[in-house]
Point group: C2
Chain length 201, copies 2
């Protein structure tokens, strides 16, 4: 495949996608050109359209095409609760439960000192400004729910945020750790069981 | 992520890539919009450029931007040998060996009755026309080397091609089956060892 210049450029461009190596990129380019040129053009348009249209919500920082995303605009949501998640996929997992009716703040990342990602890179200042936001002189947010992942980076991120919010007089909570629904104790890791014991109710 | 229309379209378009499910497509879209918008635009351009520029070589049927690909145009290559491969990746594997100086015919597929891929879909007529091509009244191709893969579909394809070439007075050969270089007999499958015994030299 090395002879065709525009094919080579396509393979290189596909390799910038996360998780795509040179073999997968070649297979993708081959598939699109041989079997799905319409799909290739649709993908090109979708990329250009998304880059042009998608920006960040000025309140919760998630992807949106408007200044303020539909969730933050929704008048039926409880504006006193703010749930902090790492990314839009986590937000949509929480939304699918139907158990939460407050608002969100999407970090679009997590603290990861090893990868050089510090507080400024994940917009913690924006989060603190969001929490400090006042409507009619009153602080709107009364509870911040930390729903970062239960990984080392997610825990660090939650810790740093809770430190930053300490002096602000809002209540800071964390998603409960415990035994997953439908699982058998025998197969649950010990750390989880220990947490479920401590947090028993 | 469900709220943003152009993001949703991007995820759908990415899912048309082979081997990309909804989770990978979301991760790709997220990565491009959050960390690599330049890469997204480059990919869009590369796709449009490739769809507009890449066509099939009129002689060997591989991808090329010209009427005849650089390999088929190369005057230093042996025009009496024609190696039949399934796709451009197989061709480039053969090229990398440096052991072959003849020409190619790229099927851009393989016979696969279960998937509804018949002789017409992989352009066998074109291959036969190519073999019948005469220069100064003489048949140019004297040997057809079948280098389709050693899978069920590849073997079937090779068989059908050799049947079609029987009456044409060209010699038809198949890549040798045998023990891979660098491997230990203990770990080689029995079918391969059996073939290596029969084809011993």
């Amino acid at each position: 495949m090395a002879e065709t210049h525009s094919l080579e450029l396509l393979v290189q461009a596909l390799r910038r996608l996360p998780g795509v190596g040179v073999k997968s990129a070649q297979r993708m380019a081959f598939h699109l050109l041989q079997h799905d040129r319409e799909g290739a053009l649709k993908l090109a348009q979708a990329l250009q359209h998304a880059v042009a249209q998608v920006k960040h919500c000025s309140l919760c920082h998630t992807f949106t095409e408007d200044d303020v995303c539909p969730t933050c605009r929704d008048a039926r949501r409880d504006r006193s609760q703010l749930c902090v998640v790492e990314n839009p996929a986590d937000q949509s997992a929480l939304e699918r439960t139907g158990a939460y009716r407050g608002l969100y703040f999407v970090l679009m990342g997590k603290l990861s000192p090893l990868d050089g990602v510090g507080p400024r890179d994940i917009g913690l200042e924006k989060l603190f400004d969001r929490v400090d936001r006042r409507v009619d002189g009153e602080r709107e947010v009364r509870e911040v729910i930390l729903a970062t992942n239960f990984t080392a980076e997610g825990e660090t991120t939650a810790h740093v945020i809770s430190q930053g919010l300490k002096s602000r007089g809002v209540s800071v909570t964390r998603l409960a750790r415990g035994v997953p629904v439908g699982s058998e104790l025998e197969y649950v890791d010990l750390g989880t069981i220990a947490h479920a014991l401590v947090d028993r109710r």
